[in-house]
Symmetry: C2
Amino acid sequence: MGCIVEPMHFADALTERIARTSPVCVGLDPQLGKLPADLPKDCDGVKVFCMGIIDAVSDVASCVKPQLAYFEILGWEGMKVFWEVCAYAKGKDLVVIADGKRNDIGSTCEAYADAYLYEGSPVDALTVSPYLGSDGITPFIQRCTENEKGIYIIVKTSNKSSGELQDLPVGDEVVHEHLAQLVESWGMHHIGPKTNLSCVGAVVGATYPEELKYLRTLMPHIPFLIPGYGAQGGTAEDTKWGFLPDGTGAIVNASRSIIYASEGKDWKEAAGKAAEGMAKELTKILEND
Amino acid sequence: MGCIVEPMHFADALTERIARTSPVCVGLDPQLGKLPADLPKDCDGVKVFCMGIIDAVSDVASCVKPQLAYFEILGWEGMKVFWEVCAYAKGKDLVVIADGKRNDIGSTCEAYADAYLYEGSPVDALTVSPYLGSDGITPFIQRCTENEKGIYIIVKTSNKSSGELQDLPVGDEVVHEHLAQLVESWGMHHIGPKTNLSCVGAVVGATYPEELKYLRTLMPHIPFLIPGYGAQGGTAEDTKWGFLPDGTGAIVNASRSIIYASEGKDWKEAAGKAAEGMAKELTKILEND
């Protein structure tokens, strides 16, 4: 007997998955030079590595975030692995966020949307860059609403030089605060019926907790993807400002601190333990609130 | 007897190619629904189409700009075609600019740089988005200097909503003017010995000629890639402000008005004629100055 699963709004499905697991998002950044010693340093090695990490974290993480750059660097063969890895993660009930920071306008933007957010795609959401304005966002949102997918718009990133453009003063605010209000306006009309959260998300780094706190107030309907935890220096405490008062509305990404938790033969177990440890830390922080 | 060609600085090689042909850059945006009737609507059709366009324009255009979105939409098989098309264009002595608007930070940015701008890559330059600041630019510049490649940073785009972020007022200037000065500062130390132009370029749309004129003064060492000509409404007259006084320093992109010049069986000839017509228009404008 078949089972027909009704497609669910991205934010609702994500929130349900988080409730069953944790807000942990595991970044899949498979660098050839960092693969475990027992794996070949090629596409096959990347595939085995990513699938091994997925197996190790799928009980405790809500999402995986494959980083497209590490697949593109392997040529078209790498892109084949990217799609195989996404399908594998999807089969393990993980929410799959393709980190591509794609951006363009008009029909080109539609092509990117169709490339990743088509009906039935193993990719649930795509990260996108905002510099081109709403012409570069609207076509993505259209596909999100049609196919129950999501996007995460880069608002305030975790890197040191993020302020060079993102923190420029614009009147009484700064560029990323202005963008945050645009993101809220783009997203607020595409809310999940269960969660009051949009299919339009925002990337806001954990390394700037004050900004994170303020941006949460500017974007009450926007799910956050918070990078910068772990290797980049952000703590669980730093990330808590990105969550809503009820503890929903955000996922926290860690890549290197989980996937490269051990260089030895125990790399899978170590990744699973690292994800579990992170999940416990986040749960503790959210419960204390 | 073999012939060893010394690698040449990106801007010098580009300028030399323009001198032998024209500042015309042909955008390869192969949409399945728009392919000529005699071609299959699949990867094979895209390959034949792009190669046919390349054959038709290679005597008159200096560059082709394959748009990655239209290859990514075809899955990994499309990426295979992308690389084949780039290699084919390179073999015809065209300068190949991959339009991917890639952007990320640190080792991920390095991965994008290595994916497209590796030594011996058929891709000569890559478009990149600037929202992450210098952390997202420096790794690209490093590969450019090592491998004689180029990047074009999105500064002021040709679309209607480009002003939403790019024109926000920052003190006495606007965001894209501030960025332009950053781009000049990033690029001015990586100048070609023959041209005084950098391997760091800028994308500045033809549809805002006043801005184009002012941005030329802010970025004297930066080669411009000027989109928006043709179907988007920019004229040859509009683009002239992007050139330096000696008529160098810019390429002008047209996509739809060239590659879809005819829907009939004469699509190759029509594309060749459209590119030739555009080259003549640009030459006339530059000679009149």
